[in-house]
């Protein structure tokens, strides 16, 4: 079946530093990868959608300068949180799918704590 491995599961970083999280698709080709953030007491908010061979589309309030994403092939995607501050804490989730006829499969999330 389709699986998405996301790592690390949780991380702590000092304020002003950066951290990178990765997602690996297993059992299918991740043509599209969506990155979400769930801040405390909030729902999953879309950061950006990455589709292979297309430009990465960022949602309002999220920028490439802050959340650069790499999607180099059909099995891997990474996102970095640059200069993390307290408001960046939360659960970051990646979801991937193969085609328009398939549902997104989600990773288990990366919980970011900023101190």
């Amino acid at each position: 079946g389709a699986l998405v491995y996301q790592y690390p599961r949780r991380t702590i970083c000092k304020s002003g530093t950066s951290m990178r999280m990765e997602c690996q698709a297993v059992g299918f080709q991740a043509t599209s990868v969506a990155w979400y953030r769930q801040s405390p007491q909030k729902t999953f908010e879309l950061i950006a959608l990455s589709t292979v061979n297309s430009a990465i589309k960022y949602e309002q309030n999220f920028t490439q300068e802050k959340f650069p994403i790499s999607h180099p092939n059909l099995s891997f995607s990474s996102m970095t949180v640059l200069n993390a501050y307290l408001e960046d804490r939360g659960l970051y989730l990646c979801g991937a799918r193969h085609s328009a006829n398939s549902d997104y499969t989600f990773g288990s999330g990366t919980r970011l704590l900023v101190i």
Partner: protein, 114 residues
């Protein structure tokens, strides 16, 4: 843009009682998909139910939901709650305008106690 509104916060039930988690949505697309995801702590959210067909009941693992486009609703139900149903439940919507990426509701925490 799309939005999803669901029963917020915490729902506490006694085992054996029926479950009903509300979900309503807004979208301009008539062919949108509605989903219910289950999220257990430290695990991946996984798809419980999905539907894009009006007035058709969808069932999986004892849960069911019927998409009603006239009222823009997709409520999640189960006739008898089990302890193992305790989890976070997210209603979500996807449509062709957004490349089918899900838009999530705020989530409902269901706690089933003996």
């Amino acid at each position: 843009g799309d939005s999803v509104t669901q029963t917020e916060g915490l729902v506490t039930l006694t085992e054996g009682l029926p479950v009903m988690l509300n979900c309503t949505y807004q979208t301009i697309y008539s062919n949108a998909f509605l989903f219910w995801y289950v999220h257990y702590l430290n695990e991946s959210p996984w798809l419980l139910l999905r539907s894009s067909t009006d007035n058709k009941r969808t069932e999986h693992q004892g849960f069911h939901a019927t998409l009603h486009k006239s009222s823009s609703s997709f409520h999640l139900q189960k006739s008898s709650a089990q302890l193992s149903d305790s989890a976070l439940y997210y209603c979500a919507l996807s449509d062709p305008g957004g490349n089918y990426k899900p838009t999530f509701g705020k989530g409902t925490s269901l706690v089933v106690h003996p």
